[in-house]
């Protein structure tokens, strides 16, 4: 099995609300938009972020564990090249209505904060000056990485 994630799919309760947040607020451009069903975004060279209507998710996978007051046990990170960009992206998310946590300096040397999308999925906005943090940045030449 190759080491590849092709899609990250999040079950969302109200696609119109998700569209307003990701497209209207974060200013992402959809790759596919089927109202009431699914909203997909290119999120990397060969990666798609898919927001899938919760009812359809439940039909295929069952009713998920969910609690409005608790996080889901996963996060998505958006890495950036400077601490200032961490602040800028979190400010954009806040203007789009997202709750924020941080940003704070982490003991491992980074500077990160979180925002939550309308379904509570947590995005970490991260400046990570270590080798793994650098290699995920868009300006890094893939072939030249350590």
């Amino acid at each position: 099995m190759e080491q590849r994630v092709s899609f990250v799919t999040l079950a969302v309760r109200d696609l119109d609300r998700s569209r307003a947040f990701y497209v209207g607020g974060l200013q992402w451009s959809p790759e596919l938009d089927v109202p009431g069903e699914v909203l997909m975004f290119a999120a990397g060279d060969r990666l798609v972020l898919s927001l899938w209507d919760r009812a359809a998710f439940e039909e295929e996978l069952g009713v998920p564990a969910f609690d409005d007051d608790r996080p889901v046990p996963m996060t998505l990170a958006h890495n950036v090249a400077t601490p200032q960009e961490v602040r800028d992206v979190l400010a954009l998310a806040a203007r789009a209505g997202a709750p924020l946590w941080g940003p704070v300096e982490r003991e491992w040397g980074g500077f990160t904060g979180y925002f939550a999308d309308p379904d509570g999925f947590r995005w970490e906005v991260a400046w990570n000056p270590g080798p793994i943090g650098v290699r995920v940045l868009p300006d890094t030449d893939v072939d030249a990485r350590p």
Copy 2:
């Protein structure tokens, strides 16, 4: 904000069990392995899959919603080029001890099934002959995609 997911982080209860599954079973190679803390894998050109000790996750984000008998409200997909590869990857996951669902033909034209990792995170192994399915495959020239 650029449309980029840099890390997918999953909170796991037992990193040794996760390592046995992903490294021993699925035969992935870690990018970083800090026993008891975190296990990271390259999962795309600029994407890292991070398995993070649940206790550390809880300290930073709070206690997540979780239920052993229900899925989390998200999935990761691993897309492949043929239906036979769907069967092959699912068979590998089954040999590693994962429960399976499917594979079945989907009404949208694909052929997919799921396996669960030791914490119940669902991986969809998918053959998707549509344009979005093709563009995430490793053999597709990024610059030549529709």
